[in-house]
């Protein structure tokens, strides 16, 4: 029953561009999908290990920049007479580079930041995102600073049956995002149901106890951060090659907040939570826009909603629905 429902959903989503020929709606869904991937990666850290990372957008942005730069090519002066030059690479290689660089940054931050917990960790993660944003803004030679990287090429892939395909159009990008989201979902599901996943939950629930039964705390946390950062980097890479322009504003704190709201509203520590939360908060702004609100008003609604969710649905929507389903 449940599996059939999941498949029905998936088929409905996969065939959507065939029966819904509205580029605007598709665009909204693509952007929501990218954010859902990012929210899923945050959920791995926030929901399963219980570490609130408020610098998650840094990994998203690093993925976007790394992928864009690799596919555009760049040359920078590291020393006055030493120039590091990189030719433009194919986009799929750039995307992999984005994922790898974000993952590597995740490893570095994990090693540094998990010396501390709780409020300290939150503030370190914010600081990290802010430093990265300032670097993107000021290292003009590499990132073009506020002038932004533009003319980023879209993804070109050799697909069986279709040959060389370039992802110019919205339906193609929609399927790409959907496939990535599905892949991430499956990966996260396998991970959290594995031994490592049980170690994460054990850490979240009671760290001293988990340590005493032999869970390697730092290793588990760093592993989670690397996977989570790499997924956020993948979302960033998708974003860069879909929107085809990246500027330092991708590091704005408000995007982290959006991801956190998605995870918390949907239900942290549940597989479906970020997807539900992401759909709600990915589509809600468009719905609110139809009401002709000012953008400030939209953010005020966001803030108030966040407070209300914490008060009335502290576990999130998905666990609340599950409890309701069981009671029937």
């Amino acid at each position: 029953m449940k599996a059939a429902l999941t498949w029905a959903w998936l088929i409905a989503l996969a065939t959507l561009p065939l029966w819904l020929d509205n580029p605007y709606v598709l665009h909204v869904l693509i952007v929501a999908g990218i954010f859902i991937v990012a929210a899923m990666s945050l959920n791995l850290l926030l929901g399963y290990t219980g570490q609130l990372s408020l610098g998650h957008v840094a990994f998203f942005g690093i993925g976007a920049y790394a992928s864009a730069l690799a596919s555009l090519g760049f040359s920078i002066h590291i020393l006055p007479d030493f120039v590091l030059q990189s030719e433009a690479k194919p986009v799929w290689l750039g995307m992999l580079a984005g994922i790898a660089v974000a993952g590597a940054c995740g490893w570095l931050i994990g090693r540094l930041a998990f010396k501390v917990r709780g409020a300290y960790f939150v503030i370190v993660s914010i600081s990290f995102a802010e430093v990265v944003r300032l670097v993107a803004l000021n290292w003009v030679e590499l990132t073009q600073g506020p002038m932004a990287l533009n003319n980023i090429p879209p993804l070109t892939l050799w697909l069986p049956g279709a040959g060389e395909t370039t992802f110019w159009k919205k339906p193609a990008n929609y399927w790409l995002v959907l496939a990535t989201a599905a892949l991430c979902y499956v990966l996260i599901r396998r991970l959290v149901r594995s031994r490592a996943g049980r170690a994460m939950v054990a850490l979240r629930e009671n760290e001293p106890l988990a340590t005493s039964v032999g869970v390697d705390v730092t290793r588990t946390l760093v592993l989670t951060t690397v996977v989570s950062a790499a997924m956020a980097g993948a979302a960033g890479a998708l974003y860069a090659h879909y929107v085809r322009i990246v500027d330092p504003d991708v590091f704005l704190f408000i995007y982290t907040v959006t991801m956190v709201i998605m995870v918390v509203t949907g239900g942290k520590g549940t597989l479906a939570g970020p997807v539900v939360g992401g759909l709600i908060f990915g589509l809600l702004p468009e719905g609110v826009r139809a009401l002709d609100f000012k953008p400030e008003m939209q953010w005020i609604v966001y803030g108030v909603l966040m407070i209300l969710v914490v008060y009335f649905l502290p576990q999130g929507i998905v666990p609340a629905l599950e409890a309701w389903w069981r009671r029937r």
């Binding site: 219980g50 609130l52 540094l112 930041a113 010396k115 501390v116 917990r117 709780g118 409020a119 300290y120 939150v122 503030i123 370190v124 914010i126 600081s127 990290f128 802010e130 430093v131 300032l134 670097v135 803004l137 000021n138 760290e207 704190f253 408000i254 907040v257 956190v260 918390v264 000012k294 400030e296 008003m297 953010w299 005020i300 966001y302 803030g303 108030v304 909603l305 966040m306 407070i307 914490v310 008060y311 502290p314």
Partner: protein, 278 residues
């Protein structure tokens, strides 16, 4: 000059964290609120600059008290992540309310100080900066006196040390929390009201202020008032030196780099009492 206001921001935040165990994300908005109140009072109603300063601080105290009573009171005893999420929500709502009320255009505020600087030997300083520094120092001294020499301060220190025991001794934890949050918010509003006329008031000014306040607090150790005072001055110095010797584009990054360095080598901050940070 900046050091004094940074210290004000840091002390407010560290008080709230130390006593209430709340990571106050609305702190920067209170700072912006202080600056905007100065703008409203001085530029729109045209009352005296010094009276406006006092009024702006009082209004900041009242707003802080209101936030505590409406949002935080019912969450007492909730874990730190829960209150943090609520404060983030409040912060987003407040910041955008400010933008809605006063638009995104930066507002400048007239101040009554002469344009000619004060010259002492080889050093020349603008008068308004001297004033800001003096008032900031006076407020810091006032806060110390309040904490160390009054009944309310004693109750705050008791709550800081052990909330449950303090409650058993008959201290009204609820009103202590309200007073603390109001005091901390008042200090943030004071910093904003002081710096608003020196720079300009704009809606997102609170973000950077909050980020710096966090840096200061981490630098000094969460919950340590002397630490926050010293941290404020250290950060201001590091920023000036960083801007002068490295690159002015990275001025605002200095604080974050300092945090990262501190956490690597001395994770409890420079002045922290012994505390578990795990």
């Amino acid at each position: 000059m900046l050091g004094g206001t940074y210290a004000l921001l840091g002390i407010g935040l560290t008080l709230i964290f130390g006593i209430m165990r709340v990571v106050n994300f609305t702190h920067g908005e209170l700072y912006a609120f202080g600056a905007y109140m100065m703008y409203m009072l001085v530029m729109l109603t045209g009352i005296d600059f010094f009276a406006a300063l006092v009024l702006a601080i009082v209004l900041g105290v009242m707003l802080g008290g209101a936030i505590e009573v409406t949002l935080l009171r019912r969450l007492r005893g909730a874990d730190i992540d829960t209150t943090m999420l609520v404060m983030i929500g409040a912060w987003i709502a407040l910041q955008n309310a400010e933008q809605l009320a006063w638009t995104g255009v930066a507002k400048s505020i007239n101040s009554p100080f002469p344009a000619a600087p004060l010259v002492i030997g080889p050093v020349s300083v603008a008068w308004n900066r001297v004033f800001v520094f003096g008032v900031a120092l006076a407020l810091i001294a006032g806060t110390y006196a309040l904490i160390n020499h009054t009944r309310l301060g004693k109750a705050m220190r008791a709550t800081f040390q052990d909330r449950d025991t303090a409650a058993l001794m008959g201290i009204q934890i609820g009103s202590i929390h309200t007073a603390t949050f109001a005091l901390g918010s008042g200090l943030a509003a004071a910093a904003g009201a002081l710096l608003g006329p020196v720079f300009v008031a704009y809606p997102s000014m609170g973000d950077l202020a909050a980020a710096k306040a966090f840096a200061i607090v981490i630098l000094g150790g969460l919950g340590s008032i002397p630490g926050a005072t010293a941290g404020g001055f250290i950060l201001a110095l590091a920023e000036e030196l960083g801007a002068g010797y490295i690159s002015s584009g990275y001025r605002d990054a200095m604080g974050f780099l300092l945090i990262i360095a501190i956490l690597l080598f001395r994770p409890t901050g420079l002045f922290a009492r012994k505390e578990r940070i795990g």
